[in-house]
Each structure stands twice: as C-alpha cells, then as structure tokens.
Symmetry: C2
Subunit: 558 residues, 2 copies
C-alpha cells in the first residue's frame, strides 16, 4: 500500500541533473539543449542506424482495457527500472501527455506510484513546448486556408464546404467542438462551419511522429490534404506554401526530450498522437534515439494490443524498419474479471470463475502477437485486490500456452518489484527473438489491409462498408493513396466495433462508416465508430483542487 | 547602407553561451534555468529592491509614429550597446514579440540591422513558451466558464449573454474574430457568441506584466471579472476556483528571460501586452530584475509617448514604485515630414518646411515628458534619406528647448553609432535626474484621471462620454473599481482620437465610447476608437517566403 499521491512521491525525489542522466547514455553535456536542470532536448545527429538495428526494442501493450486503463505507462517505466536493476542498460521511451486531461478527469500521464518519470509537473504541463508547437503549426495552416478563401490575390478557389482541416487546442473544451467562424461581415472572412479538436488529434502530431528529419517533416506537412477547389481539384498544404513555415514552428519540437525515472534511469518522451484516430505512440525519432543510445528500449502504444500494438507493428515498425524483439502484454486481474462478465461494482472482488472466462481475451491477444513472429511476455500489473489463486491461475494458463506471465509490482516497489518481469523479457529477447514480420504490406489494396486486421486481429467474420466509406475508398483511389498504411479507429473496449462485446467475441461483423485521409502521415483512417476528438471537462474539474504556493510548489496535480 | 537582411546579420553572429552573459550580471550559472545554450530564465529570488532603487532606469518612447514605426526597439538595443561602449554596465529590457505578426505583415520584433537581440529566430518564434502559457491560462478559464454553464453541479447561474471573457490564440486569424460556439446539441455546451483575440490582448498577459510574484499573480487571476449571473451578481475567476490552475500554467512564464544583444550585452525579454488596450510594456518583474543586476536599464513602451510613456509612467512606474531618470524620445525625420503634412510618397524626400511644421508634434511630446519631472533626450533614428539640414534643424530646435538631440546610428553601426546618444542619456541621468512624479493618483476618480490624460497629455479641450461609457462608469462604481488606473485605448496615429489629426492638434474633443474593466490587472480601459484585437494575414502571407533546411537554418523570417 502507498499512502502518498503520485505528485507527493515525485516531489520527494531529489532529481539528478540531466547532464548526469545523459552521461549514462554517453551523451556529452555539450550536445544537450537543456530546458532547466532536469529536461533536455537531444539533437537528431545522435541517431545511429547501426545501433538502432543492434539494440533491443520491447513494446509494452495490454489486453482489452477497462476505462481506468491497465497501467501500460507504469509497467513500461517499472520494467525499465527492473532491467537496469538486473544489469541491462535500458531507457524508457514514451509519449508526451496532453494538457487537456490534466484539468479533466483522466489526469496526467507520467506513470504512477514508484514507477514515474520526473519532473512530473513539467512533463504534465507545457514540458518543452512540443504540443504548443504542433498546435501553432496546425493553426497556422487553418489561418492560411481561411485567409486564402478571403484573399483577392493567389486565391486557390477552395470550396469552404469541403475543408477537412480543423483547428486544434490542447484543452478539454467541448464548446469548441462545433462552431461557426468568419461571422461579422466582409472584414472577418467567409462564414463556415468549423470546430476545434484537441491537439493530440492533429495530423501535424501524427506527422511529427512519423518523420525521420526536418526535410521529411516538411515534405509530409506539404502533403496534408485539405479539401477541394470548386472545380473539384484536391488542395494540399503545399498549394498554400505552408510547409516551410509549419516546419519552422516545429524546429525544436522535432527533437526528443530527455528526462529521468524515479530511479534515475533515462526516459525519452516525445510526441503524443491520439490512439484512436492516429498511431498512439511516440515519435519514430524518439524510438530510434533510444535505440541509438541504449541496449534496451522499452516503449508503449495506446489502448489494447488490437489497436496500439497493431498500429505500432504495422505502421510504425514497418515504415521505420524497426525490429521489436518482445511484446509485454499488460493484464490486470480486474480487467480479466471484467472480461469474464463481472459488473463494475465487482471489479475489485476476487472471482476465479470470472477470471477463467476473461482469460479468453488475453489468450486472443497472445495469439495475435505471435502472428507478427514475436513472443509475448504477460505482465500482471499487481493490485491489492488480486487473490493468489487468480494470479496463479493466469500464470499457469499462460505457461500452458508457452508464455511466461510475471507479477509486476513496479507501482509499489519500483524496479525492485519488476526484476522478475525484466528477467522474463530478457529471456525472450536473448533466446526467442526472431525477425518480426508485419501483418500486411503497405502496398496491398486498402480493403485487403482492413480485412487482414479485422479478421486476423479482431476476429471478425464480415466487414461491411457504408455508402460513405465506399465513396471514400473511391476518393482514396482517385488521389492515388492506395499504398498508405491503414490506421484503424474503433472502440478500445472490445475486439469488435461494439463496446459491449467483451471477452473474445467471434463471428461478428464490423462496419467501416467512413475513411479519412491523413496524407502527410501517410495513412488512411477507417472509422468504425464515433471517435471523440475533443473531450469535455467534468462537473467538478480537477483544476479546482490544484494549488501552487509562492515558491512554485504544486499540489493536486495527478 | 546594409545589404544583409536582419536574419542574415543575426545568423552571422557567433553567440556567447548564455552563462557568459549571466556572468556579466554576476549571476551564477547555477541560478540559470537554461533553454538551450542561448536563452535562460532567471529566478525571481534575484530581484533586490535596494538595487532597484539605486540603479538607473531609462525609458525609450517616441513621437507620434507613422505606420512603419520609428524604431524604438532598435534604438533601445542600440543605446544599450552604446552605454556599454562608454563604460556603463547596461541591460536592455524588452517585450516578447507575438507570433501572429511574424507570419503577417509586421514581422517579428527583435530590433533591426546591427541593433538586434539574438537568437532572433527563437525570440520571434515560441521563445521560452511564455505566450503559450498565457494562452493556455486564458483558455482554461474560458473552458471552465462554458463548462460551468453546462454543468449540473456547482452551477454559478452565469448569464452567457454577459460573458466578457474571450478566448485567445497567438495567430493572425481574422476568421476567429466573431464566432458562435457550443453548437451541435446538448453534449457540446450552450450555444453563444464568442471570439478569439490575439494572445497579447489577453488580460492574463496584462496581469502577468503587473504581478510581483506568484502569490500576487494568483490573486490577480482570481480577480478577473468575467460577467454576471442571471440575477446580476458579478462573477470572477475565483468563483470558478480557476486562479490556482491558471497560476500553475504560468509558473515558468513568470520568470524573465535572459538573452544577448549582437554585442554580447545582456537583454531581458519578458511579457508582451498590447499597447492599445493594455500597458504595452514588459513585466514589472523583468524591469526590476534588470535594475537588480545592472547599473543602467534601457526599456521601451509601445506606440508614441502619449500612449506608451503615459501608461509606463502612470500605471507601471507608479504602481511598482520605479523612478525613471531619463526618457529617450525617438524621432525620425520621416515622421517629422509626415507630421508637417508630407504625403506618403514624399516621406523619403528632404523637405525642411515639412520638418519645421512637423516639429510641433515632437515639441508637445517633450513638454509632456517634463510634466512627469523627467528630462528627455531626443534620439534621431538615422535614415539614409535624412538631409543634414533637416537633422541640424531638429538638433537646434531641441537645444532651444534645453533638450539634447542626438543622431542615433545603431541600425547601421551598432554601439559605435550610439555612443553620443549614450553620453547624452548619462548626462541627464547623472546631472539632471530628480524624483519623477506621476500625472495622477490612482485614488482619484476615474473621470478625473481620464480628463487629466486627455487634456494635459493629448491636448484635448472637451471629453465626451457616450451613453455606453456612462453606463460603464456606473458599473465600475458599483463594483468598487474607482481606484484602478486608467489604461487609455485610442489611435496611436494622433494625439487625438482622430487618426487624421497629425502634428499637434488643439482644441479638439475626444469621445469615450465605452470603458472596459481589467480587474485582475487593476485598470479600466476607456475605449476612444475601434481597437483591433485580432489582426488578419495579408494576401500574400510572410509564411510563403520562409524556408528551413534540414539543419534547421531558417531564411525569410523578419
């Protein structure tokens, strides 16, 4: 049991100067761009492709999660501490948290308990300004679009009704979801319907996370598909000559951020795209940076393995030619009870029968990981309400499948609580790793790629396309985007597109409602359900309970 | 003549590590919060009120400017180089530029030619994130307001029609001036009219610049006046328990930023409120920081002396108990021709007659400065189109008034071109400085304060109040805000509220159209004309000509 809040634990820690953390990675102080004493940006010149290929990449993902989440970030950090404890040189590479949820219900995202990255306040607030840079680059493009529609010179004849590009703000602000802009007369632009998404939902964020360097970033930004002219020609950001100015705004944001864990191990935190309509994992640059500097890199991807791991392996790893050598599947006894049919009030009550039934969900994820030629390890993220009987059951069932399942106690004990998990991971990496293979080739037709994911990963029998989706497929074909990756957008609560289908559903139909285009990120986004792109605040926002004193000491941030 | 652009000159300079600049101020490296190698934040603990009183504050302001501006920032930087050249320890303290104009017509604001602060790209882009922090604090309050209106618990009964608080974005984006938000059904909030201002127009920016420390910042943020409940009770940010979370977002933004000039002298750059509806000068904290660390501090305030200097002296200096010892009035021969009636096409053609007539504008500003018990120095910001005859005329006319006028050639020559100006300033500071006195007491009635400024500074004969303004005065009285300062909002193009009245108009009437309240900043804002709070982009935005290469080298930024 821990009696302190996350922020209290984090504040009790005396941080090492970031130059000391850099030393562990053999990075010269002179190569660091410091942001205060405990944060630094790393130059892209430190990326070394030979090292990227030699070193060991471990992906942390999860079974199908409950709304509370199963602790992937906490396990990723904990596992990194554990690896260092057993003598491996390991770095954790994570996404940057969005500011919006900090004031909402969810809170920040810098791990928890004794498995945190610090300084947690800074990481959860503006950090090194990357989200702001993404926001500004996104909104500069918006301003340029509306300015062009208004403009007498250089007018591209953009049809305002076709504009797909939205503004973004890193704030939970439901009132901005659906707005009309350009009111008030001729001086104020052309009235049209618009809306703000939260910044992680920006395609600029997805692009930043797919880019290899500034040149590539610029090219991708220019490729952003905005909409059509009145004579139905596609309009791209490059038509507005926007890509250089957008890249200028991102010149520092492209560099990964170095911080530390509570046990003074290196943490690289960079980029934070949504896990529903985007790839939900840190930048390719950050992952490669980690692998250039560290023998082991532990990273994570959002939601369950059907979403996060699928995208990590088929989009990011395939594109960036990464070779993940082990996948850690985070499971909680609570989530297994849920998948076995336990009601929410019973989540914390031991029930072997529910866990037995719920195990089918985890089993399907294990099968799925093996489809990529990767061996999984199961991390049972320990909770006080777990019974020994339930934990032993999971360990035994996994063993029957040839998978090592290990209790992970990083939240309560830090690296001391994850040494066994670390050993299991090292065993897979050193003795069982092969060359991973993606599930599909980017070059195969869009419908084939969707089918492969839906049938082999989700377990669907039938894929239906709405009229809208069929029109979208024709548009993708016309624009020549058939060889883009597929970034599926569906509920994280089920293997299917129906949140109510827990466990391991079979024989179901999934419906592709529409298919969006992220031409800069180079993927299309089949939408299988309503996607939230702008959260709201709760009745009693978390902001109400936060305080800061005259010395800058914060409380109430989580 | 200079054949290089500002950015080319800036990039040709090999910068000193910021720790070397800090050394000149006797600041330990350990006290710096570095942002890369060339920017750092200074902790508030370095402020020393004894030093603030001992050291010498010099304000740079201008005659009534032409739309191109008369080069206050360039002269401020140049003068600082000159002071250091003649053996004084001097620091320039400036506002941070807004990002919006960088992509518009105006460009950045880091000086020009050989009088620049560097790294100019960073200063003109996100810098250390202060503007973003202001923007987020402002927009968190907006989100909390709309969330409260939507909320079933804790509902304050806010009447959405009375909300005065607007969202902000640091972007020139005319389409956001007038919008409707909250559309799309019950999940998306309550529909209402709203709009975005540019970030420098946020009251949060005005507050940051008036604050003495985090505690005071928090108090001011809580005092922000938002609007009324349905039963006509005033609503403040503190009613939404917003002030702590807002202050948390500003925890780093409250610390001033240290950079360097092209001649490696210290520059402190912090805060950037609009000069029309706000105080248009850097933070009180930054000015005090400069004075705590430096024998001479050169600072500036926006627009002409009727606006910038008036607010600097009556609002900032009075509140913060500063004692400015010299005021530098920047004049250009071009602007004097303009005030003498020259048409725009003739601005660059010598014409002694026009300059003779136009001198009346400068003369009035000289008289005004003396009303504060301060001796002015006139800096003739040198242009290639100036004739010797015109320059000599201005010098002689000033001498007749007992004022030293000096040619300032910082743009072409850096500190070498401003040594004479520096000597003139030192002469005033060392031989003529007395205790400055403000024009009015904050405690006098609002109408008296307005009258004093309009009659004594502008030269108006009659002050009229619209019906709206009279209602606003009653509201201010009812809310108990009579002892606030007065922050006048009028055109910068004339002493009067009519932009067409150049030179030294007399016998005119000014009309107060409405009076806004900035309760956190502690001033009311009499509006004497239409104020622009959200600029637009030009037909061909500056962004189109910017480039960045793969090494991050930028061109086309100005």
């Amino acid at each position: 049991m821990i009696h302190q809040s996350d922020i209290e634990i984090a504040q009790a820690k005396t941080l090492k100067h970031i130059r000391e953390i850099a030393k562990k990675l053999e990075v010269d102080e002179d190569d660091l761009e410091m942001y205060g004493k405990y944060k630094a940006k790393l130059p892209l010149s430190l990326i070394n492709d030979n090292k990227v290929n030699q070193n060991n990449l471990v992906l942390v993902t999860a079974l199908t999660p409950t709304p509370a989440g199963e602790g992937k970030t906490t396990v990723s950090i904990g596992l990194t501490e554990g690896l260092n404890k057993i003598g491996k040189q390991a770095t954790v590479v994570l996404r940057e948290p969005s500011l919006g949820p900090v004031f909402g219900i969810k809170g920040g995202a810098a791990g928890g308990g004794y498995s945190q990255v610090v300084p947690m306040e800074d990481i959860n607030l503006h950090f090194t300004g990357d989200f702001n840079a993404v926001e500004k680059a996104n909104n500069l493009l918006s301003a340029l679009i509306d300015n062009n529609i208004q403009s007498k010179d250089n007018n591209l004849n953009i049809d305002p009704r076709t504009i797909l590009w939205k503004r973004v703000i890193d704030m939970n602000d439901r009132s901005l979801r659906d707005i009309t802009i350009g009111l008030g007369g001729t001086a104020n632009g052309i009235p049209r319907q618009d809306g703000f998404n939260i910044t992680p939902a920006s395609e600029v964020m997805a692009i930043l996370c797919m880019s290899s360097d500034l040149e590539n970033l610029k090219e991708r930004l220019g490729n952003i598909f905005i909409g059509f002219t009145y004579d139905k020609k596609p309009v791209f950001a490059s038509d507005l000559k926007a890509e250089n100015a957008m890249a200028i705004l991102l010149k520092d944001a492209i560099k990964p951020n170095l911080v530390q864990t509570l046990e003074e191990n290196p943490a690289i935190i960079h980029g934070g795209p949504f896990a529903n309509i985007a790839q939900g994992t840190n930048t390719i640059i950050a992952t490669k940076m980690g692998l250039s500097l560290s023998n082991y890199v532990v990273t994570e991807a959002g939601f369950g393995a059907d979403l996060g791991a699928e995208k990590f392996l088929n989009i990011k790893s395939q594109f960036a030619k990464l070779n993940p050598k082990c996948v850690v599947l985070v499971a909680t006894i609570r989530a297994l009870r849920h998948h076995g049919g336990a009601a929410k009030v019973d989540y914390n009550r031991p029930n072997l029968e529910r866990v037995t039934e719920g195990f089918k969900n985890l089993e399907k994820h294990i099968e799925n990981i093996r489809k990529y030629n990767i061996e999984p390890v199961v991390a049972i993220n320990s909770f006080i309400s777990d019974s020994k009987e339930e934990v032993d059951f999971v360990i035994e069932k996994c063993a029957n499948l040839g998978v090592e399942a290990v209790l992970s106690e990083g939240w309560v004990k830090g690296g001391e609580g994850t040494k066994n998990l670390a050993k299991a991971v090292v065993n897979v990496v050193e003795n069982k790793a092969t060359q991973y293979k993606p599930l599909y080739d980017w070059s195969s037709p869009i419908k084939d790629k969707i089918e492969k994911i839906a049938k082999e990963i989700y377990g669907a029998s039938i894929i239906e396309y709405s009229k809208q989706a069929q029109l979208n497929l024709r548009r993708i074909d016309r624009l020549g985007f058939n060889d883009f990756a597929v970034c599926m957008a569906k509920t994280q609560k089920s293997f299917s597109d129906n949140a109510a289908l827990i466990g391991r559903p079979e024989g179901f139909t999934v419906t592709v409602r529409e298919i969006e285009i992220a031409a800069g990120a180079q993927f299309v986004i089949p939408i299988l359900g309503k996607m939230m792109r702008m959260p709201g605040l709760p009745s009693q926002p978390a902001s109400e309970n936060m305080t800061i004193d005259n010395d800058g000491v914060i409380s109430g941030l989580s």
